[in-house]
Symmetry: C2
């Protein structure tokens, strides 16, 4: 194997890069802004120029690079075809591998996957899932992302739609519509926005005192902070959120029975109090065989993507 | 590769055998009763004797057999360890591969998997899922079994619990308890027993005429037959059953996005009318990316197991 490999995590606002040894050691990481204008046509040329610049700076030849792994925020199939990426301005299906091969012909090995899946692979390799072979990871951020890795390999899905845990229906009585057009999706309760909406509903249905009532607006972080400080109402909100998460995770466990669940994303920084709520919710609905499946926190945070991208090509 | 391979599908009442060429052609199939007494201790010796007898009869040497694939009705992990099999009298975890190697040392390659998983693999190879690489199969029989195959390989799960689709919670308002101890599992509505229970509930909550009301007892088959003959009430029961099935399948699709769903088991012989009810239910809950995933019928029926078992070793 050649001595180096590169991971590229393309997000809607920034692109993160990691230069690794082929033993998996991160030598250097850097990032740049994502230029999403004019249909995102600058993104891949920007990526290839940034890679060439870094290699030159480090006196590494392209021929010394084993490959490039790329994560994108949209559906990608097992052949590295990207279907579309709303956040990047990409509207049509194309082969990301082929496009990169045209831009960087000296580094032919290019693999792409959805960013939630690369994060799951990264956490399994060097983060919260170390020592395990299969995982389902949930990323609680603006939305609820999901990544699935079985026997060490990313499960992409027939339409690049594997890992869409956020759109599992967890509440059949919901009347509000999710961004996807369905009703009662997990994302409506467990994303940063979702938990605020859930909190507002619970506050208006209860008389219980809460500091949240005094705030003009509040965030997921405010709820987590108050719960950690011992406020009962805020804690109840987290428990309810954990119940919805646990319910969806129990469905996934019935199908896949993973070695470990990993919880990542901004909201998971709330720490133990949210993790405990999720574990409680999961055990309530889990099938006997998989009731004791560990539920751990992500550890690599924003670096999970570049680790997972590199792992794909190693 | 050696010229022959053997598939063994061990059930609670009979053991099915298939002798195949290593090109996947079924040369002969036969079966014997399962002796479950005294903790199922006779089962594997019976299997190995039956195999040796057949090989002798066919003038095939054990050394000409590539391997033996075995399906059992209980959880099995990816290393061919059986956890327990209530229906066979097996109560403790053991290595099925090792036990078979002691009994048939001349055929060292032995792989075991759960029978719902081997059926899924068989249907994907030579049945309703031909041409696809990944599937989730549901077997509607006494219970609701499930098998998961991704990129051509069985997903066993950390505790051999992958494919337990029958125990996904599909009705949070259920008060009756499932055999697994939870409430509202898919199996409570979509197994042969489950649909009868569902029918009784719907009949007592409705005034609609139905021939079922005249019967002292009725079966899943009676409901399907009446629905096919155009009875409105029976059709409504199937639609409700299909909705619960479709709901669980939509959850699974959010996690895995398989190429195809396959429906097997005795109940699926009801044919198009049940299949249409399932497709309707699935589309109602499915996430946009996977709304058009095909839902096909099993085609190999009782032979799916021996086909899948052999496919494991080829």
């Amino acid at each position: 194997m050649k001595p180096y490999a590169i991971g590229v995590d393309i997000g809607g606002t920034s692109i993160k890069f990691g230069l690794f040894t082929s033993q998996g050691e991160l030598l250097e990481k850097w990032s740049m802004d994502t230029r999403t204008e004019t249909g995102g046509m600058h993104i891949l040329p920007d990526v290839s120029k940034a890679i060439l610049r870094k290699l030159e700076e480090q006196k590494i030849l392209p021929a010394q690079v084993e490959g490039i792994g790329i994560g994108v925020p949209g559906p990608v199939d097992a052949q590295s075809n990207v279907f579309f990426c709303v956040n990047l301005g990409w509207k049509e299906k194309f082969s990301l591998k082929q496009r990169m091969n045209e831009l960087l012909p000296d580094i032919p090995k290019v693999l792409a996957a959805n960013d939630a899946n690369t994060a799951a692979l990264g956490e399994l390799w060097k983060g919260g899932g170390q020592g395990y072979k299969s995982t389902v990871m949930l990323t609680l951020g603006t939305g609820v992302g999901g990544g699935v890795v079985m026997s060490g390999a990313i499960v992409a899905g027939a339409h690049g739609g594997a890992g869409e845990i956020g759109h599992i229906t967890v509440n059949h009585r919901e009347t509000a519509v999710c961004s996807c057009g369905k009703r009662g999706c997990l994302e409506q309760y467990a994303s940063a926005r979702g938990i605020v909406r859930l909190a507002k509903e619970m506050l208006s249905a209860s008389e219980k005192p809460s500091a949240l009532r005094e705030m003009e607006t509040f965030s997921a972080k405010d709820i987590c902070d108050l719960a950690r400080d011992g406020e009962e109402m805020a804690h109840e909100i987290l428990l309810r959120c954990g119940r919805f998460l646990g319910r969806a995770m129990s469905f996934v466990a019935c199908a896949l029975d993973p070695d470990v669940f990993i919880i990542g994303g901004g909201m998971s920084r709330a720490g133990d109090i949210l993790m405990e709520a999720i574990r409680l919710g999961y055990r309530k609905y889990a099938f006997q065989d998989s009731k004791d499946t560990p539920v751990t926190s992500a550890r690599l945070w924003n670096d999970a993507g570049i680790y997972g991208c590199v792992k794909m090509v190693l």
